[in-house]
């Protein structure tokens, strides 16, 4: 917190960048963590339903769910809507222009859109009251309270926890009349989920093949590229966001994916547990302290490390690729379809699904994977605004990129869950 | 009033090489006069005549007497350490008079004169004195020497 409190953020000077690079090479991190060690995640529920703060180290994010009854879109008349709104302006050292147009803000926004909206994690049909007339509009406001790196993970955890915590009142629709029942009349209803996605972030440096997990702001700013993977609790890939200039081979990405998948599963478990404890607390006493705890720092927070202690020791340390993928292949469901947009210039190894989803991992396959595919995702900015509807437009953009004859490859994957 | 008008040096004179310092001085005077004229309606006599006992110093570094922040220890950067040493020596040099003296000033004077050190200056002085004075002193000295020999020694012996 001390380092961020000045006007300009860390990681912008050359000595810092050089130092972080060389430290990453020696597997040293400024806060003494290992390369694959996460910071403790702490959850804190507010007095209202759907209010959650998540803190990871000095990073702190507040998510607040609100609801409204509105009309559905004509394209999907029987579905409610989910709106995500990110506010990064609370971070004091970003000036107005940076906060609004900064790449960071755009990336975060698109990551959340893809993780929660495009992956259809909420059962939006259950939010329908009357087809083509009335639906629930759920809105999540994500406020960044302090930024010390890895806003992505903190925001996705906060959003997921807030949505899971949220309760809406029951309604009935009789004779063109909506009747909303108060809490006393009928019990409040939780939202229905199809799956529970969270993201895990990695930093890649040119100096070392070993990516750093859960980067601080210093590490993030000094990184050559940042990989964000969203997995749901079934260990299905929801979003992959890889950008920057560091050459990353398939093996590294696979390695990240394996550990991210397990991490995501653990995180969702953790959120569930925290919710249970919160429910118990609420039933015991009417009085809920809410976020006032944040001010005095008293520990009613749910800490990842404390809650998950008794669970099987979470493998957060360095992934042994062979072991991991073996475990992975057993669990990986086949029902996942990956819409892969790959460029003409991309090597076939990436197109080959089998190399992405290794089944019964053997040595030859790994060697195949190690064929380095240099990814220079300079086109990250354009990608950040992508979403399903304007895909056609993106393809046009890609042709331009191909015409430039750069060794660029865009990899964006979205898993559509088949129900 | 022409009598109070200050005589001004012409530009030609001021442009001469040896007049550069004067030129600066004249320019500064002009400047001061102009600024005085500019603020004349805002400044009152009290402000002009007040003799304040306050000096404003906005720098913490000067107030607290902070050292230079560029330091090196145990041979990390020899260049910086050499500069630090030089600074230290300079500082020590200034503070040397405060060291305790083995010989006080009074003692020093006494021994100095006791050793007849000013004799040399005396001999030089003789050279420039007139003949008359010279003789006078010579006789005096002889007398004194004579007296001394006669007077002092027996006394010491007495004691």
């Amino acid at each position: 917190m001390f380092m961020n409190a000045n006007l300009f953020e860390p990681g912008k000077s050359k000595p810092e960048r050089v130092f972080v690079q060389s430290a990453a090479k020696q597997n040293t991190r400024f806060d003494g963590r290992k390369t694959s060690e996460f910071r403790d995640v702490k959850l804190n529920f507010g007095a209202d339903w759907g209010t959650v703060t998540v803190s990871m180290g000095d990073t702190m994010v507040l998510a607040q769910v609100s609801y409204d009854i509105g009309t559905p879109t004509s394209a999907r008349p029987n579905e409610g809507t989910l709106h995500l709104n990110v506010d990064i302006k609370g971070v004091s050292y970003l000036d107005e222009a940076q906060a609004t147009y900064d790449q960071r803000s755009l990336t975060l926004n698109s990551l959340l859109e893809r993780t929660f909206r495009s992956s259809r994690c909420l059962d939006l049909e259950s939010l329908c009251i009357a087809v083509e007339q009335h639906v629930w509009c759920v809105r999540v406001d994500i406020n960044v309270l302090n930024h010390d790196g890895n806003l992505y993970d903190a925001s996705t955890i906060a959003t997921l926890a807030a949505l899971m915590h949220f309760r809406r009142p029951d309604v009935s629709y009789i004779d063109d009349q909506i009747r909303t029942y108060s809490e006393r009349e009928r019990e409040l209803m939780p939202l229905l989920f199809l799956h529970y996605p969270v993201s895990v972030t990695y930093c890649v440096y040119k100096s070392t093949p070993q990516p750093l997990v859960d980067p601080t702001l210093l590490e993030e700013n000094a990184a050559d590229s940042i990989i964000v993977l969203s997995f749901n609790s079934y260990q299905e890939l929801c979003t992959l966001n890889a950008g920057g200039t560091a050459p990353t081979n398939v093996r590294t990405i696979m390695q990240c994916a394996h550990s991210a998948a397990r991490r995501s599963k653990a995180l969702v478990q953790f959120v569930r547990k925290a919710l249970e404890l919160d429910m118990e607390k609420r039933q015991q006493s009417k009085h809920v302290a809410g976020l006032i705890d944040l001010l005095d720092g008293s520990l009613s927070k749910f800490s990842f490390k404390r809650l998950m202690e008794q669970e099987q020791p979470m493998e957060v340390d360095a992934v042994q690729p062979s072991q991991a993928s073996r475990a992975e292949s057993e669990q990986k469901p086949e029902k996942m379809t990956i819409e892969e947009q790959s460029q003409a210039g991309q090597k076939p190894a990436v197109k080959d699904d089998s190399s992405w989803l290794p089944e019964g991992n053997d040595v030859t396959q790994e060697q195949q994977n190690t064929e380095q595919i240099v990814k220079e995702n300079a086109a990250k900015n354009t990608k950040a605004t992508k979403s399903k509807p304007n895909r056609g437009k993106n393809k046009a953009g890609k042709k331009q990129a191909a015409a430039k004859k750069q060794n660029q490859s865009d990899s964006e994957e979205e898993a559509t869950h088949i129900i | 009033m022409p009598s109070k008008m200050k005589p001004r040096l012409s530009r030609g004179v001021l442009d001469m090489k040896f007049m550069q310092r004067t030129k600066l001085k004249v320019a500064k005077e002009d400047d001061d006069e102009q600024s005085r004229a500019l603020y004349s309606n805002e400044l009152n006599t009290k402000m002009l005549n007040s003799n304040s006992n306050f000096i404003i110093e906005p720098s913490y570094a000067i107030c607290e007497g902070l050292i230079d922040g560029r330091l090196s220890f145990r041979g990390m950067n020899p260049e910086i350490e050499r500069l630090m040493e030089l600074e230290q020596v300079e500082k020590d040099g200034k503070s040397r008079p405060e060291q305790p003296k083995e010989v006080t000033d009074q003692e020093m004077v006494e021994t100095y004169y006791a050793n007849q050190a000013p004799a040399a200056s005396k001999t030089m002085g003789k050279k420039f004195s007139t003949k008359n004075e010279f003789h006078k002193r010579k006789s005096n000295e002889q007398q004194r020497l004579h007296k001394k020999g006669q007077f002092k020694k027996p006394r010491q012996d007495d004691e």
Binding site: F2, M3, A5, N6, L7, F8, P10, K12, S13, K14, P15, E16, R17, V18, F19, S22, A23, Q26, T28, R29, F30, G32 | S52, N53, F54, I55, I56, E57, P58, S59, Y60, A61, I62, C63, E64, G65, L66, I67, D68, G69, R70, L71, S72, F73, R74, G75, M76, N77, I80, L83
Partner: protein
């Protein structure tokens, strides 16, 4: 008075200083302001006094306000015309001329790029114009000023920077016993350190940051533990 902790609040009239001022000339440091013949505090914090005649308020602050003569660390942000723009943590960015370096001429310009760190002196600072820096002393020599290469750089409160720069600071002495290192402390709350290895540098930086919470009085106690921080 210098020993007793005397907290003043902004707007408070400080008669103690006025009394001293009747007898002799005094220097009013930051946080004190003269209003006609009275002395008024403009910052909150303990009132400090240094012999013979200096008074100031030592308030907790993170934002640097440039003052003439300060030695600071700046980050080069851009080149523009004949000057570099330097971020020194103040409201306005500072400028340093190409010619304000040792042996620099119009043709022989220093080779500095955005992101480089400079240890420089504030040449002039006024609320109305942007601060100007120099990297040479009055003899045109570099001295200790100039580019800081390698090492690690971090930010802290202005108070911590000043704490380290007091004469005979126990913290630096305690660290010297543990390992050889090089340090540049800017009074603008920025610190650059360099040790032989990355692990040592990390330990050093963490040790210095652990002093952040220490006051002038507890510093000795904290310094005893610095070795432990270094090991961790």
């Amino acid at each position: 008075m210098s020993s007793a902790l005397n907290i003043v609040m902004p707007g408070e009239r400080i008669t103690a200083v006025e009394d001293v001022a009747k007898g002799k000339r005094i220097i009013l440091g930051p946080g004190l302001r003269r209003v006609n013949d009275t002395v008024v505090a403009s910052k909150a914090g303990p009132l400090k006094h240094r012999e013979p005649n200096t008074f100031w308020v030592d308030n907790y602050q993170r934002r640097y306000v440039p003052a003439r003569g300060d030695l600071i660390i700046g980050i080069i942000k851009a080149k523009s015309g004949d000057v570099y723009r330097v971020d020194i943590g103040s409201a306005d960015s500072a400028s340093i001329s190409y010619l304000a370096f040792e042996a620099a001429t119009k043709k022989n310009r220093p080779d500095l790029n955005p992101g480089d760190l400079l240890y420089a002196r504030v040449l002039n600072a006024s609320p109305d114009i942007e601060p100007e820096l120099v990297c040479v002393n009055s003899n045109g020599k570099r001295g200790k000023l100039g580019l800081l290469q390698d090492g690690f750089f971090f930010k802290c409160s202005l108070n911590l920077g000043r704490l380290l720069l007091r004469e005979n600071c126990p913290a630096l002495k305690a660290l010297t016993e543990k390992l050889p290192y090089e340090i540049a402390v800017g009074v603008n709350g920025r610190i650059w350190v360099k040790a032989h290895s990355a692990a040592e540098t990390v330990g050093l930086a963490n040790a210095i940051l652990s002093l952040e919470q220490a006051g002038h009085s507890e510093i000795d106690k904290v310094c005893d533990n610095l070795g432990d921080v270094l090991q961790a």
